[in-house]
Every structure is written in C-alpha cells, then in structure tokens.
C-alpha cells in the first residue's frame, strides 16, 4: 500500500455538530511521503477533520480514501490498522509507566506482557536508530521533558505501524529549539517514506517545514498551496478572510513609578511543589511587562501569587503601598479592593462560571461591592444593568445578561472577563493568556484595550505563551525557565531567537541581562 501516490484523500467530507457546520464539503489530498500542513484559526474545523480520520467522529457524508482504499473508521483501532497514527496536543501517556510500557499500551498481546515487552524493545531500538528518535526506554514518562514525551508519542505511532502521522499543534509546548529538533525528526521520517500531517496555526512552522499547505476557514478548505509558492502574508489573509494587522500600532511607553515590586520570590504551587524561585522584577505605571516562557515554567504559579491565590514561601511583593510576605498575605478580595485586577489564565474554570448567567459571571470577585449590596440584599436588577453596560462598552455579543456564560463564544467570554476587570479602574492589571483560543477579531480588540489601559497609566503584567503576543504588545520582557528569570529584554530590541534561547535557558551567561538592564 505504500506504493500509492496519494496517502490520504478526502472527498466532500461533511460534518455538523448541532447547528455548527464544522466541516463543509472538505476536499483534501495528501501525497505520500510529504509533510502537509493544515492551517486555520481556532474553530476552523482542523481538529474535527483529523478526528474524523482518527475515528473519534464519523463524517455525516463524504468519502475518505487511505492509500486508495475506501476507509470508514469508527474507532482509533481501525485507523491505526489502516496506518494512521496521531499525536495529540495533550499527550495520551501514562505518566508513571516507563516509555516501553507506554508504547505497548493497546497492543499488549497475550496475558503475560514480558514477551511483548521484549519484542517491543527490539523493535523500538530499530525504529529509534532508523529515524533518529533516541529515547531511554526504561525511564518513567513523567521524568522526561516535554519534547522527549512527544518523541514517545511519535514512537508509539510508528510502533503500531503508522504510515501517516497526524500531529496536532505539536510545538505549542516546545521551546523554539525543541521545535527545531522536532522538525529534524520530521525530515528523517519523511526520508523513510512516512507521510506527516501537521496541524498548526503558526505560519512560521508551515513555511519552514512543510511541502504543501492547506488552509481552512469556517469549516471550509479554502486553499491548497505548494509551500514554496506561497508566503505568510497570503496564508494569514486566507486564514482570516481579510487583511489583518498582525502588529498593533502603539506609541512608546511613558513609564512612571513602580506600582508593583517583587523581591526574590519563591512560590510553591497547590501541590506544594516549588515552581518559582529567586524572581525579582518591578512593574511600572504606563508600561506593559511581558512574561514569556514555555507553558509550565512557573509563570502560571507566579501569576496566581501576584493575584493572591497562592502564598509566598520567600520574598516579598510591594504593591500599591502594601507589602505581601510569607507572613502576611492578602487574599484576592483584598487585592481587588486595593486596585489589582486579575484576568486568569484559565478563563473557563477560573475566570467565569459556565453554569452562571452572564450577569453573575460579571459579578464574580465583586459580589461584596457596596454599590450593589443594600444590607443583606444583593440588588440583582442593578447587577444586570451593570452587566448590560459593560457588554455594550466591550461589544460583547449577544448583549444578554441572562444568557448562560457557557453560551458565549470564547472571545466574548474573554471580553466579559476583561470588561469586568477593566471597568473598576484598577491600578495594577495582572493578565494571563488574554487571547488564547479566540478569534482574530477579538484578539485585536483585546490587545488594543490592554494598550489603552497602559496609556491610562496602569501597570500591566502580561503572561502569554504566544511569543508573538508578548513581543507585539509589551514594553519590557522577562523570560522564565524552570521557575527562574533567565533574561530581561527591552521589547524594542527583542528578537525571537534570543528569547527562545532564554526560554530554554541556554543563552551564554555573559549575554544574560546585559542587553536591557532597566535603567532606573
């Protein structure tokens, strides 16, 4: 079957979810032995399409051919048998199993697994050599770095005989250097005739690694291109359907007094694991301080401590005239009263309550405000009116305070949270992942609002995993790796390569902090 010229062919594949037309007569043909990129905004239908290939969903209509054979998959096993392997965005690994045990999961063979373990060991050693995918087989997966875990996922696919590998946003959790390593593996796989489908929204990756690229927008396949004959600008326009401002115009920051000064912070997360140590910085009024880093390097923990959710283990934070220390903590309510607003990283679980109506979600954190409470009575009509007015101010649709929060789109949910936090005129804003998983239109709107707040003299601390976001809106950037600050850069002189090395903490030490020490 490997001789076939076309690995995967989709003809008029259609899929509805209720009223959502997730895939609208999608056609796609992927040539054997190529790297084929699929780009599109969140919600464009890329993941649905791949889930149909992998047997998670069934298409409503249309035809799928894998290596020229008609293919209908109702579960992942059938897809694996047809030679399709998938590496999910969130790894499907058993953390406390060894690499070897993880790989044979689902193909254990007989009742006793020793035999299949031995077989797998021989086979894996061969695969690892052939594709340059060296991984230690007897180490528990939890002890491996994220990049290594991803290799295990790829090995798992190959071990099960995958001829086509689908990777869903594989670089989202990697440093730029780890990504390069991954791309090197792609090349090796390609040489051996493996077909790779790469789902991503990062155009840089598409341009540097793929042979062909298909663009999805609103459920439709809008373009197929040979990568060498296209450019990022064209792809971006195809993805969004109009020209976009990828960089937002902003004036130079007029920074003023420091409103938040962090001294030598050490913070443990909810599980009691030390995630932040020796972190010091200051956030000044009229300035956006971006905190960059690969997910899970302590930024989230730091954010929670700044917002009063986690206590400090060491160090102190001076904030708007108060001092937080391991002995004296302020809870989120007290910080809000002081003038600190917090937009949490996890909007679904923390920022709002899906089962509450919008006006109640817009009250979260401010339920004790004097204006809306009269004695014991919470004035719901006033709460509703307030919600309506912020909905208009932030163009949140539908403008209905009685609608369940879960019924708003991601972008509108995020705008609701921002509106709630911005409208109380805070002095310090702590913002986590402001634009994660939302549409481009809302992204532009939100970034502009953040810059407006800066120009109004607020001190803003911005945490984002999107390096592009950090670079385009912050004025000063600190980079975190493994809970420590590995670099401080002025946004004007920041470049992706340096930041990437700082994110991985591989920058030669003499270069650290030299470029942009804050002159105060």
């Amino acid at each position: 079957m490997e001789n076939s010229h076309i690995a995967i062919e989709l003809i008029d594949v259609d899929k509805h979810f209720g009223s959502v037309h997730a895939n609208d007569k999608v056609n796609l043909s992927v040539k054997t032995g190529t790297i084929h990129g699929i780009v599109g905004e969140n919600g464009a239908g890329k993941s649905t399409l791949m889930s149909i290939l992998y047997g998670f969903y069934q298409a409503d209509s249309g035809q799928i051919k894998v290596f020229d054979k008609d293919f209908i998959s109702t579960n992942s096993r059938q897809s694996i048998e047809a030679g399709i392997g998938m590496v999910h965005q969130h790894f499907m690994l058993v953390e406390n199993f060894t690499v070897l045990e993880n790989v044979i999961l689902g193909s254990e063979g007989g009742a006793l697994i020793t035999e299949s373990l031995e077989k797998a060991r021989i086979e894996l050693t061969r695969l690892a050599k052939e594709y340059g995918l060296e991984v230690e087989l007897d180490v528990a997966v939890e002890e491996l770095s994220v990049g290594m875990q991803q290799r295990v996922e790829i090995l798992k696919g190959l071990y099960k005989g995958a001829k086509v590998l689908i990777l869903d946003e594989p670089t989202g959790v990697l440093t730029p250097q780890e990504s390069d390593e991954l791309f090197r593996i792609f090349e090796a796989l390609k040489k051996q005739g493996v077909t790779i489908i790469l789902i991503t929204h990062k155009l840089r990756e598409i341009m540097s690694i793929t042979d062909y690229v298909s663009v999805m927008r609103a459920g439709k396949m809008v373009a197929n291109r040979q990568t060498s004959e296209t450019n990022p600008e064209e792809l971006a326009e195809l993805m969004i359907g109009r020209k976009v401002l990828l960089n937002i115009d902003k004036t130079k920051a007029k920074s003023g007094d420091p409103l938040l000064v962090a001294n030598n912070l050490e913070i443990h997360n909810e599980q009691g694991i030390k995630r932040v140590s020796e972190v010091s910085f200051e956030a000044r009024s009229g300035e956006i301080l971006g905190i960059a880093g690969v997910t899970g390097n302590g930024q989230g923990t730091l954010l929670k401590a700044l917002a009063g959710i986690l206590p400090l283990s060491k160090g102190s934070i001076e904030i708007l005239g108060e001092t937080i220390s391991p002995k004296k903590s302020l809870n989120p309510q007290e910080l809000r009263n002081l003038g600190v607003a917090h937009v949490p990283e996890d909007r679904q679980r923390m920022g709002l309550i899906s089962d509450f109506i919008a006006s109640e979600s817009a009250l979260l954190g401010y339920q004790n405000d004097k204006e809306i409470n009269q004695g014991v009575w919470l004035k719901r009509s006033l709460v509703k009116a307030n919600c309506e007015s912020i909905m208009e101010a932030f163009d949140i649709r539908p403008t209905n305070p009685d609608l369940m929060s879960s019924n708003f789109s991601g972008g509108n949910q995020q705008k609701l949270i921002l509106a709630r936090e911005f409208e109380r005129n805070p002095q310090v804003l702590i913002i986590g992942q402001p634009t994660r998983g939302i549409d481009i239109g809302a992204i532009e709107f939100i970034r502009k609002r953040i810059i407006e707040m800066r120009d109004a003299g607020k001190a803003i601390i911005l945490i984002s995993v999107e390096l592009e976001e950090i670079m385009s809106i912050s004025d000063r950037i600190i980079v975190m790796c493994d809970g420590e600050i590995t670099g401080t850069v002025d946004a004007a002189n920041a470049d992706e390569a340096t930041l990437g090395m700082m994110m991985a903490n591989v920058l030669p030490s003499d270069k650290q902090n030299t470029e942009a020490q804050y002159d105060s």
Binding site: H16, G18, S19, A307, G308, I309, N331, P332, Q333, E334, L335, R336, H342, P344, D346, R349, M350, G351, L352, I353, S354, D355, F356, E360, L363, L364, G365, Y366, Q367, N368, N373, V376, W377, L378, R380, L403, M404, N407
Partner: protein, 364 residues
C-alpha cells in the same frame, strides 16, 4: 420562546414530571405483581391523602418534615456538598429543642419560649454538621462518608441521652417527660376551631408555617444575597471561587451549618408540634427522604415544596393502602419512595435527549 427558555422548562418541570410518572408506572407494575389493581390502589391512595380533611392534615404534616430536610440537602448541594447526614442532624436538632423545652422556665411567654426552642433545634442541628464539615474542609475526609457515620453516632448519642439522662425516674420507656404546654405549637385544627371552623383532628400544626418561612428564607438567601452567591459560586467552580476571593473552606463549614440547622427543624414539627416529648427515632426516614425531595425539587425551594407534598401524599396514602388492602403493607411506601429516588435521582436524565429532540431541537 427561545431555546434557552425551553431548555429551562424541560429541566425544571417536564423532566421531574416525567421521572415521577415513570416511578408511578413502575409502582403500578409492582402492584400488579402482588395482585392489586393499580387503579383501585391509586384511588385509595389519592383519597386517603387528599380526599378528606384528616387525611389532608396528615399529608401536610408529613410534608412539613420533608420540607425541612429537603431544604437542608438543597442548600448543601448548592455548595457542591452532598449532605447525607440529615437523619442525624434532625435527630440531634431534636435534642436541642427538647433541652430548651424541658429546662426553660415554663412561666415565660410562648412568644419567647417557642422561638428559643426552634433556635435550639437550629443550633444543635448545625453543631452536628460542623464536625463533618470541618473534616471535609480542612482534612479532606469525604462529607458523604462522615455524615453517614454521624448518623450512627447521633443514634447512639440519643439512646444514651434518653436512657441515662432524660428518662423520667420510674419510667420504663426511653423517652423524656412531657414538655410544658407553653412550648407546644398549636394544632391547625385548634386554630381553626378558635375562628369557629371545625375540622377533623390531625397532627398538622403551625410548624408548616415555619417550613414555609424557611423556604422563603432559603430562596432569598441563595439567590438574593452575596453569601448565597458565594455558596453557589463555590458549588459550581471551586477555582472560580478561589479566584474571586471566596474561601471555599469557610463556605463548606458555613453551608453545612446552615444545612444541618435546617434539618434540625424536623423536631419542631415532631416534638413541640405533635408529640410534646422527646422519644427514640422520631426522625426516622425523614433525613433520607429529604435527599429524594431535594433531587426531585431540583434544589429549588418551590420544587422542594412540591416534592415534599408528593412525599407527604405517599406517606399518608401509603398508610391508607395498608389499612384498606389486605395484601399491601406499609412498606409499599418505601418501595414507592425507592422508585422515585431511582427515577428522579439515578436516572435523572433518562428522558432529556428525547425531550430536547422533540421540544427544543437545535436550530439549524
């Protein structure tokens, strides 16, 4: 009607209705098995529960207990806590009421004594819930396990209290002496008689007004105060509660106290309302019944009032069935209750996909 609104109607009204009807249908099958005509049985049950004023009085008297325990379960549920300990909290709450009733100066005004007795029930019910609450909040012991254990502890405690402390000297049965008359809540038939209406005697007493008052209070508290907001927020999303500055541990303790206090009011109806003394197992079955009532009533006071009425009907009508039909014993009530719990609790969403498909299809 918008789809959201239709969904709300389906969830709030149609679903419980269909579930209850299914439970009745299943009960009808049980009746057929034991050789009873289900239609005949239904007639007897309805007439016995609602057909004449004494039966109606009994029905409402039973319903009163279920309102208290139903509210107790519902309040805890809004904070995401499953309080299985209503049984024990009701029991110990009764002790609080009895202690006030037995040891207060009987020359005081009823206007003072009765509220004090009610407060005794609230306080002791809350105290009995506070230890499981603390263990859940600060030690991570699961509230379901601890509240069940506390039901047994309550049982043992009450036997001890009644046998060794409160039993009258020379009295053989484990019960307290009678409460002074000043603490008795008037029977409804007495109140009616005072205004010149004669209705049949029944245990129905003014506790039913207490139950209505607390239903209103719970509704206001949960949906119209900032504390209710905090409780509901914690129940829906612990992370969001923490984010907003609410301390979920405190919420657990406070909510369980409120829940226990509400359960503790069963004694108001049973002790100062009807029996006028403390005795063993006066709480029997009401705590657990309250779980079914809350489930059926969707944890909303209005729903709880309706569900409690239904359970009152089952209790009273079931007693009537036992009396009227030879091959039916009073246990049929337990069977019906079990079926209602099965269909309203365990199989809560059985009809949901069907109802949504027919009544609120997704617009395309």
């Amino acid at each position: 009607m918008t789809r959201d609104r239709r969904l709300a109607w389906i969830n709030g009204l149609l679903l419980p209705l269909f579930n209850v009807l299914t439970a009745f249908l299943a009960t009808a099958v049980v009746f057929l098995f034991i050789g009873v005509d289900p239609i005949e049985a239904t007639k007897i049950l309805i007439y016995g529960a609602l057909g004449y004023d004494e039966g109606l009085g009994y029905t409402l008297y039973y319903a009163t207990n279920f309102v208290f325990t139903g509210l107790a379960v519902a309040v805890a549920f809004h904070a995401g806590l499953f309080n299985i300990g209503g049984e024990g909290q009701a029991y110990v709450g009764g002790l609080g009421i009895a202690l006030v009733a037995l040891y207060i100066d009987p020359t005081l005004s009823a206007w003072l004594v009765i509220p004090l007795a009610i407060s005794g029930g609230l306080l002791f019910g809350a105290l009995w819930a506070i230890i499981p609450a603390y263990l859940q909040a600060y030690r991570g012991s699961h509230i379901v396990i601890t509240t069940i254990m506390f039901n047994f502890l309550a049982s043992a405690l009450m036997v001890y209290m009644l046998v060794h402390v409160l039993r009258e000297v020379g009295q053989m049965s484990p019960e307290s002496r009678n409460f002074p008359e000043v603490v008795w809540l008037p029977f409804v038939h007495d109140v009616f008689a005072r205004f010149g209406y004669n209705i049949a005697k029944s245990p129905l007493n003014l506790s039913i007004l207490v139950a209505l008052f607390f239903s209103l209070l719970v509704w206001f508290f949960l949906w119209h105060t900032r504390w209710g907001f905090a409780i509901r927020a914690t129940g829906k999303s612990n992370d969001a509660a923490v984010y907003s500055g609410i301390n979920p541990k405190k919420i657990i303790v406070v909510t369980m106290c409120i829940s226990g206090a509400l359960a503790g009011l069963v004694g108001v109806n049973e002790l100062i309302g009807v029996q006028h003394r403390l005795f063993l197992n006066f709480n029997y079955g009401y705590g657990f019944g309250g779980i079914a009532v809350a489930l059926m009533g969707r944890n909303h006071p209005v729903g709880i009032l309706i569900a409690a009425l239904l359970f009152g009907i089952l209790y009273q009508g079931g007693a009537e069935l036992d009396f009227e039909l030879q091959n039916v014993s009073r246990d049929i009530v337990v069977v019906m209750q079990g079926l209602v719990i099965l269909f309203c609790g365990g199989l809560e969403y059985l009809y949901r996909p069907l109802l949504i498909r027919f009544l609120a299809p997704i617009e395309t």
